[in-house]
């Protein structure tokens, strides 16, 4: 059998970079160990360059349709690689001189490889392997600060929840295989069991198990308990990666399984996801109101955003004619737009958090007080990221919410309407804590007199923050090119 290596190029580049990091890290000592971060950075950017021409090629598939490179996959992979490059970049200062600097980069690249395989997978087993490849290296990274009890707790909670969700996922796969006799998504959709007027009961059980397993990955309520503790205790760059790339990979996997594998059962999983979406955004936002630690606040905010991002998938399910249909394309496009813009805002906020954490390792919201005077530019950027996360123009986030809102309304179903309204109500709730942080930064008293001095940012972090700031302003004022990039993300059902 011929394997289309050109289609696998980005994955091969990342694998190569990961192995190179492992070898180079053996050879270098001391300050030069930082080179592993740069190898990973170059690898990610090279993979993006290799992917760009694929935006203009026809969709291809290889390995008997197991691996598909359509435009949806290309766009998602570019987003994943850009996020990876950004995380590696902002991880360079905090990981510098760390005992496991090279191992951190290697494990992160393995996780990135999993995110790259995800949007191309068209088989339950392949999706399972991709999902575990995303999570398993992250378990270890979460525990890298070995002397810190919070980091140990972070790793352990993440590991136990992650392994449990993996077990549930595999059990779900086995039930679906039992009912349909296949693990290929297209074959499941075409199987007599899935198309029957009364599908076998275990198919529903299987779907519930799979949604539960992905619920852990995207930290949807009621499967979200690990997220705040893990984000707080893990090295902060990993928290940034988990709350953006790992979460996005979960959404991609869920979309592929439900949309390609179970269009005939959409009447069941659509409302089911809708309930989870409402629960997730409400619990995330309400609990976020009471957070005193900044990373925990971002964790709950990311749970709330997971609720918003479940909306388009749920609404696809609520429509009678899944399949082609232009409003499905609009819904998928709105999910891609949201994921991309959310990545910029969230990563920017994490970059500022990493910058501040050098002086204030506990990262309480209180520690940010007076930041407007003590580090005016990062404070301005953080304010922009938070306002964007809240969805207020002119910063980028409004466009993401607007795209999601109009797509949900345009679908013309009652579920779409209910979810759109729930999102608006929740966005208003979220403003309280986003603007609360902004208020503390500009109007808050600094607790101790000796804290009045300037907060110094490492140059790398300052540059990364500036880049995210430019991104969030640009998208907010001129979203056109961004929308066109997401327009290209056509998910192909049959290659």
């Amino acid at each position: 059998m011929r394997i289309d290596y050109a289609a696998l190029a980005p994955e091969l580049v990342i694998t190569g970079a990961a192995c190179l990091v492992l070898l180079v890290d053996l050879a270098v000592r001391g300050r030069t160990r930082v080179i592993s971060g740069y190898i990973a950075l170059v690898g990610s950017l090279l993979a993006i360059v290799l992917l760009i021409p694929k935006m203009f090629d026809a969709p291809t598939s290889t390995l008997n349709g197991l691996f598909v490179l359509d435009h949806f996959a290309v766009v998602m992979k570019i987003i994943f690689l850009a996020v990876a490059a950004y995380v590696i970049w902002i991880a360079i200062p905090p990981m510098r001189g760390h005992r496991y600097e090279g191992e951190f980069v290697f494990l992160l690249l393995c996780s990135v490889l999993g995110t790259l395989l995800m949007p191309s997978s068209r088989d339950l087993l392949m999706l399972f392997v991709s999902l575990e490849l995303v999570s398993a290296p992250a378990f270890v990274i979460a525990g890298l600060r070995k002397v810190n009890p919070l980091s140990n707790e972070a790793a352990l909670k993440f590991f136990i929840f992650g392994v449990l969700s993996a077990g549930i996922f595999v059990y779900g796969i086995s039930l679906i295989y039992g009912a349909t006799g296949t693990t290929s998504l297209a074959a499941i959709a075409a199987s007599p069991a899935a198309r029957a007027a009364h599908p076998p009961a275990i198919l529903f059980t299987g779907i519930v198990f799979i949604v539960a397993a992905f619920g852990f990955k995207v930290s949807a309520v009621p499967f979200h308990f690990w997220a705040p503790d893990t984000y707080e205790g893990a090295p902060t760059p990993l928290a940034a990666f988990l709350s953006v790339a790992s979460k996005a990979a979960g959404f991609v996997g869920l979309l592929l399984i439900l949309y390609i594998g179970f269009p005939a059962l959409a009447k069941f999983w659509g409302p089911f996801l809708g309930v989870i979406a409402i629960l997730t955004m409400t619990v995330g936002n309400v609990v976020a109101l009471r957070q005193r630690q900044f990373v925990r606040l971002l964790a709950y905010s990311s749970i709330a955003h997971a609720g918003y991002m479940l909306i388009p998938i749920a609404v696809i399910g609520s429509k009678a004619g899944v399949g082609s249909g232009s409003s499905n394309a609009t819904l998928i496009r709105s999910l891609v737009i949201y994921l991309a813009i959310y990545s910029i805002m969230q990563l920017g906020a994490f970059a500022v958090a990493i910058g501040v954490s050098k002086q204030y390792p506990t990262l309480l919201v209180r520690d940010l007080s007076g930041l407007g005077r003590r580090a005016p530019l990062p404070a301005l950027a953080l304010a922009a990221f938070l306002i964007a996360l809240g969805g207020i123009p002119p910063f980028g986030g409004w466009f993401a919410k607007f795209a999601l809102f109009t797509a949900a309304i345009d679908a013309g179903t009652s579920l779409g309407l209910v979810l759109a309204i729930a999102m608006v109500v929740n966005s208003v709730i979220s403003l309280f804590y986003y603007l609360g942080v902004v208020r503390v930064m500009y109007l808050g008293e600094t607790p101790e007199a000796q804290d009045e001095g300037a907060v110094s940012f490492p140059r790398t972090i300052a540059a990364a923050t500036a880049l995210a700031f430019i991104g969030v302003v640009f998208v907010g004022i001129y979203p056109e090119p961004f929308a066109r990039f997401a327009d290209a993300a056509r998910l192909v059902l049959h290659v």
């Binding site: 059998m1 394997i3 696998l8 694998t15 990961a18 492992l22 390995l63 008997n64 197991l66 691996f67 005992r99 496991y100 191992e103 290697f106 494990l107 393995c110 490889l113 999993g114 395989l117 087993l125 392949m126 392997v129 991709s130 575990e132 490849l133 398993a136 290296p137 378990f139 270890v140 525990g143 890298l144 070995k146 002397v147 790793a155 039930l175 039992g178 009912a179 076998p200 009961a201 275990i202 198919l203 529903f204 059980t205």
Partner: protein, 161 residues
């Protein structure tokens, strides 16, 4: 009753009893032994249904490696000295287990209740190996990277700083 059916009921009862023993005993070492017995029972069921490769892999990997690793873990962490562990969550655990059992049993019985299960499933190991290195080579390689990451991760976490 046909011979395979009798064998099935014996093996199924053996697996169920040893699994119950695994979760009910308060001694970690006994629990690990119970797990080994339950995995052997499951492996025997696989072989009974004609999936020889899966059955043997189950014995080799789970009974031969994973449970032994548990034993080493128990020995090295000194848990064997005071092996009794309990966390007073029995009623909640029983409730969850019962709920999961009811949902799965109801689903499986309603889906397959009247269907006849053939005991002789064609499942040649040669074909499995061939498939693994052609169609499924990509997940196979992805798992290799996963194992490499696990190896590096295990060293990182286990090393004394």
């Amino acid at each position: 009753m046909a011979l395979p059916t009798i064998a099935f009921w014996i093996l199924a009862a053996f697996t169920a009893v040893s699994t119950l023993f695994t979760v009910l005993t308060r001694n970690v070492v006994h629990s690990a032994l119970g797990l080994a017995a339950s995995l052997i029972g499951a492996a025997a069921l696989f072989i009974l249904f004609g999936a020889q490769f899966v059955g043997l892999a189950q014995i080799l990997i789970y009974v031969g490696a994973v449970v032994i690793l548990f034993m080493f873990g128990i020995m090295l962490t000194g848990t064997a000295v005071r092996p009794v562990v309990d966390n007073d969550q029995r009623p909640a655990a029983a409730l969850v287990a019962l709920a999961v059992f009811l949902v799965l049993a109801a689903g499986i019985v309603s889906s397959f209740g009247t269907k006849k299960v053939r005991f002789q499933v064609a499942f040649p190991t040669v074909q499995l190996g061939h498939q693994l290195f052609t169609t499924w080579v990509l997940p196979f390689e992805a798992v290799s990277i996963l194992l490499l990451a696990a190896l590096v991760g295990a060293i990182v976490l286990a090393r004394r700083d």
